[in-house]
């Protein structure tokens, strides 16, 4: 009886192992006949190509491994900004779709229907080339907020110049730890004695005051560097100083955010509508204020419906960021699976590393979201 149960599983496993074995052997044989060697030694060789935009120090004399890191950080950057922005926009639009106001309601549903039904790559091209055509050349760009210029070559804005940034950073982390323990303490106090603190205000106070103190006594100093117009040739200008954000990053973030937010908006709408009307009425009848109803009764239940499908959207956004290659944003795919693969010819190794990297990023996001989902799930007693 037991044998009958195990046999099909064993055969399936054997089949999979054989298939993988065959692919590996086949690849090995083909690589041998073409004189291609397999190995990761190339990662420490000098890359000898430059990258447009990098969060860490990089130039072409550094290794392929370093170039990989630059690409990875750029992918993480655009995913991180994208996830935050699309969550905010998604919640606003999702709530707007439930608004009784006709104009708000219809605008929101038009936005959702339009942006989720146009292919993403097309949207990326649209934002990039439309923006490029519409934006002014550096010399014609108007000053925004007294500090920034939006030009065809990117957004040039002020850059902070720190002195003793590490002291400030440590203070920031200490503040966050204090806030964490304060909130725990306040919660216990409320459960025991029913006493409520203005938690948000006190947390905000700690968050602002403690790091600010470092300016007075920690020797922390902050000044600003402003972008200045610089002439390259008779009709060609750029900006010097300050911080330059490439238009590729802006266009990509915009496209990813607008596209993914439509799906999140629908999740939010579904989540809120999924909470029974009776819940709201019951909460109101025991004397909770409308904001308390939303915070303590509706949202905790709605989140359970919202989180799992939203996790999917976060994963989609991260993976979709690889479309960056089309518009020259130097992400992992463009830098590593593009240029580095071309220069070294190590297709199998590089595609393997790239796949493993995306897999790791996706699994990390989904692990975090699963943890959060479990935390807010109903705790059966």
């Amino acid at each position: 009886m037991k044998f009958k149960k195990i046999l099909p599983q064993f055969l399936t496993l054997l089949f999979i192992v054989l298939i993988f074995g065959f692919f590996t052997m086949n690849a090995q044989e083909n690589m041998d006949t073409r004189g291609i060697e397999f190995g990761f030694g190339f990662l420490s060789k000098s890359a000898s190509f430059d990258i447009q935009f990098s969060l860490i120090d990089y130039d072409g004399s550094m290794s392929y491994g370093r170039a990989y890191l630059v690409g990875l950080l750029n992918t993480l950057l655009v995913s991180f900004i994208g996830i935050i922005l699309c969550t905010i926009l998604g919640i606003i639009v999702g709530v707007a779709r439930l608004s009784p106001n006709y104009l708000i309601n219809k605008t929101a549903s038009f936005y959702v229907e339009f942006f989720r039904n146009v292919p993403l790559l097309l949207q990326i091209f649209f934002w990039y080339f439309a923006a490029l055509r519409a934006l002014p050349m550096p010399e014609d760009a108007p000053l925004i907020f007294g500090s920034s210029y939006m030009t065809i070559k990117g957004l040039y804005t002020v850059a902070p110049i720190w002195n003793n940034f590490d002291v400030f950073f440590i203070a920031l982390i200490i503040a966050m730890i204090i806030i964490f323990f304060f909130n725990k303490f306040a919660k216990r106090k409320q459960e025991k004695e029913g006493k409520q603190y203005p938690k948000f205000l006190i947390s905000l106070g700690i968050f602002i005051i403690l790091p600010s103190l470092t300016f007075l006594i920690g020797g922390v100093d902050l000044s600003w560097s402003f972008p200045e117009l610089k002439q390259l040739a008779k009709t060609s200008f750029t900006f010097d100083g300050g911080m330059g954000i490439p238009p590729e990053l802006i266009a990509l973030t915009l496209a990813l955010t607008l596209y993914t937010a439509t799906f999140i908006a629908e999740n939010v709408r579904a989540g809120i509508q999924g909470v029974g009307k009776g819940q709201k009425e019951a909460a109101a009848s025991i004397g909770l204020t409308p904001s308390q109803v939303l915070k303590l009764v509706i949202m905790p239940q709605a989140l359970r419906i919202i989180i799992p499908p939203t996790t999917n959207q976060y994963l989609n956004l991260t993976k979709n960021s690889s479309l960056a290659a089309a518009i020259a944003y130097p992400d992992l795919v463009l830098v590593f699976a593009g240029t580095a693969m071309m220069q070294t010819g190590r297709a199998i190794e590089i595609v393997g590393i790239t796949m493993a990297t995306y897999l790791t990023i996706s699994l990390t996001i989904s692990m975090f979201m699963n943890w959060y989902n479990k935390r807010i799930a109903i705790q059966e007693k």
Binding site: M31, F49, T344
Partner: protein
């Protein structure tokens, strides 16, 4: 006991050596790629995604260009019909993987011959069909007339996955100029971004610049700077490990160039069979057994010249008459002041 073991191992080693030796020579006699091509009935050729003069498809899907003609020549030699070619447009990034993975059998896509490409990644370059060098394009109204006027902070649009990216770095580094590279996957996007004003300069092979200039909104607003910053010998590539196929592609290209040298054209090729010059007679299959070494018939080279034409005809048709680069420069025959020089077919 040990003595026997030693003998046994040496015997095994000898058999192994013998075995590999015999399989090697067998492989040399039979080209797998040639056999597959003849079985399929078409040559699988990797080309660019659209570079006028080199490989470009018209609205009806007909491919033309000097790179395209190399593949057509191989088809004429191997299959008897220059039109029996299946073209696969490839980006710079995809090209080598497509070749090594066996998706295509010839890569004829303005590809620079370098040591690391030839030796390291399973490829073999068979020759040069265009001598090129990297240059820069700028807007005329910028007033820049030489690369010596480039200043710190300049932004340069280019393609990823090409030698261009590396040369650009070498160039700007040696001049001590800081620059912003903006690298796209496809040439069309590079052109669109540069045309819109994203970059101050556009850099690639000079032939590519001349060809892409025709795609700009106003071609006359742009100019190619005189400096050449690198050597870019462009040529067809095959997979490593099939030396017969490699020879077929190499000598198809050589035939076109040598035919120009001896004045054999698509129009007069048949008449040349009765020529007095034995070298010309060998070129049109009227003397010697030139095809046998490849496993081809004796008129393989005649078919190339008749159906595709010699190198000069191909250049004139694709590059000169289209206004891309009317002056042949280094791509003139060695007898006429250029550097085109191929070994003799004999």
């Amino acid at each position: 006991m040990f003595k026997y073991l030693k003998q046994l191992t040496s015997l095994v080693a000898m058999v192994a050596v013998l075995f590999t030796f015999t399989t090697e020579t067998m492989a040399a006699k039979k080209s797998k790629t040639l056999k597959n091509t003849q079985k399929k009935g078409f040559v699988r050729c990797g080309v660019s995604q659209g570079l006028p003069g080199f490989s470009n498809a018209d609205a009806a899907g007909n491919w033309t260009g000097v790179d395209v003609d190399v593949c057509r020549a191989v088809a004429a030699a191997v299959l008897g019909d220059a039109n029996k070619v299946k073209f696969t447009p490839l980006s710079a990034k995809e090209r080598f993987t497509a070749l090594t993975s066996g998706e295509i059998d010839i890569l004829s896509r303005n590809t620079t011959w370098t040591l690391s490409r030839d030796a390291d990644i399973g490829l073999t370059f068979v020759g040069v069909n265009f001598y090129d060098g990297q240059g820069f394009m700028v807007r005329k109204d910028s007033g820049i007339t030489s690369t010596s006027q480039f200043k710190n902070g300049i932004s340069a649009c280019t393609n990823i996955g090409t030698t261009t990216e590396l040369n650009m770095r070498d160039f700007f580094n040696s001049k001590g100029i800081s620059y912003t590279p903006v690298a796209f996957e496809k040439a069309d996007e590079v052109v669109a971004a540069y045309d819109a004003g994203r970059c101050d300069t556009y850099t690639t092979d000079k032939s590519g610049l001349a060809a892409q200039r025709t795609k700009m909104t106003n071609p006359d607003d742009h100019m190619v700077l005189p400096e050449t910053i690198s050597k870019e010998p462009l040529g067809p590539v095959v997979r490593q490990g099939d030396s017969v196929w490699e020879d077929i592609v190499r000598w198809s290209l050589n035939t076109m160039i040598e035919a120009e040298e001896y004045g054999v054209t698509s129009a007069n090729a048949d008449m040349m069979k009765t020529s007095e010059n034995p070298q010309i007679k060998r070129l049109v299959g009227a003397e010697g057994e030139m095809g046998a070494a490849f496993g081809l018939d004796n008129e393989w080279n005649l078919r190339i010249i008749k159906q595709v034409g010699n190198y000069g005809e191909s250049y004139k048709r694709n590059i000169a008459d289209t206004g891309i680069l009317p002056d042949r420069g280094p791509n003139e025959l060695w007898t006429k002041g250029g550097i085109l020089y191929v070994p003799p077919s004999r």
